[in-house]
């Protein structure tokens, strides 16, 4: 059975140790919060870079499609570049919507991609008897609209997940 002297000893220990333990616990809380904030900042930065890259590829696709559709002499080389670009955009979009921005909804991304790919590689794409289109042709205008919708979708998703600091 502990005697009164032991109890006094324990209280003395507690008086000495408790402040140190509280300081260590405080450090741990601050460290965890900082680690969480740093991780969030890294994820935000990574996501921003991915969205910027996607937007760059979408702009590249638009330029390549203008080049291809307004000049009927452009052949297999340009159409292949368009297919490679659309496939890269598809891959990046699906990675973003499945891993980073699940809040934007997979079906919206799928619909956006289908519209984009239909506009970029539909109609007389890879056709031997295609004629040069005007730059305000319906097919190109649909491509620009699909591009804008897809960018808006990802930008909205990004700012919903990481609102700008006021």
């Amino acid at each position: 059975m502990p005697c009164a002297a032991d109890e006094v000893g324990l209280l003395e220990y507690a008086r000495v140790l408790l402040p140190s333990l509280l300081v260590i616990a405080g450090w741990f809380v601050v460290y965890s919060l900082q680690k969480q904030a740093a991780l969030r900042q890294d994820t935000r930065k990574d996501l921003r870079a991915r969205i910027d890259r996607l937007e760059g590829d979408l702009r590249g696709l638009n330029e390549k499609c203008i080049e291809y559709y307004t000049d009927s002499t452009k052949g297999f080389e340009t159409s292949t570049q368009i297919k490679v670009l659309t496939d890269d955009i598809r891959r990046q979009s699906l990675i973003l919507s499945k891993n980073f921005l699940v809040n934007i909804g997979g079906s919206k991304v799928n619909d956006g991609l289908i519209n984009l790919m239909t506009a970029a590689t539909g109609g007389k794409f890879e056709s031997a008897n295609r004629i040069s289109l005007k730059s305000n042709d319906r097919q190109l205008s649909q491509l620009f609209q699909s591009t804008a919708r897809l960018i808006t979708l990802f930008e909205d998703g990004f700012f919903a997940a990481y609102p700008p600091v006021a």
Binding site: T118, T121, A128
Partner: protein
């Protein structure tokens, strides 16, 4: 079940709508591979879309929506018979969208 791999049985570079557009057109794929299988058996057909250098919408529309437009198949017949393998995820919904649009056009006359 019958299986077709577009890359292995047709071409890794499917492109174009009609044979004038090139040797690996959607029409040639439809007429030489798909239609004989659909007409020659009641089996399900599994079509592997992987391992090609992408698809143009023009190829997919001609190959699959053409089954309704040119060969007289119905949306229900195709839904019962055709399955896809598509690890790129997007081409299968594209194909069904084109088939459904063609079916709607046919219904509207």
């Amino acid at each position: 079940m019958a299986n077709i791999s577009i890359a292995a049985d047709f071409s890794e570079f499917p492109a174009g709508r009609i044979p004038d557009d090139g040797p690996n057109s959607g029409e040639r794929f439809r007429e030489e591979l798909l239609v004989p299988l659909l007409n020659g058996t009641d089996e399900h057909i599994e079509i592997n879309l992987d391992d090609t250098l992408g698809y143009g919408s023009s190829f997919l529309d001609e190959a699959f929506a053409g089954l309704l437009r040119i060969n007289g198949f119905s949306l229900n017949q195709l839904k019962k018979r055709i399955r896809f393998i598509d690890s790129r995820i997007i081409y299968e919904p594209m194909i069904w969208k084109y088939i459904e649009e063609e079916s709607n056009r046919a219904v509207r006359g």
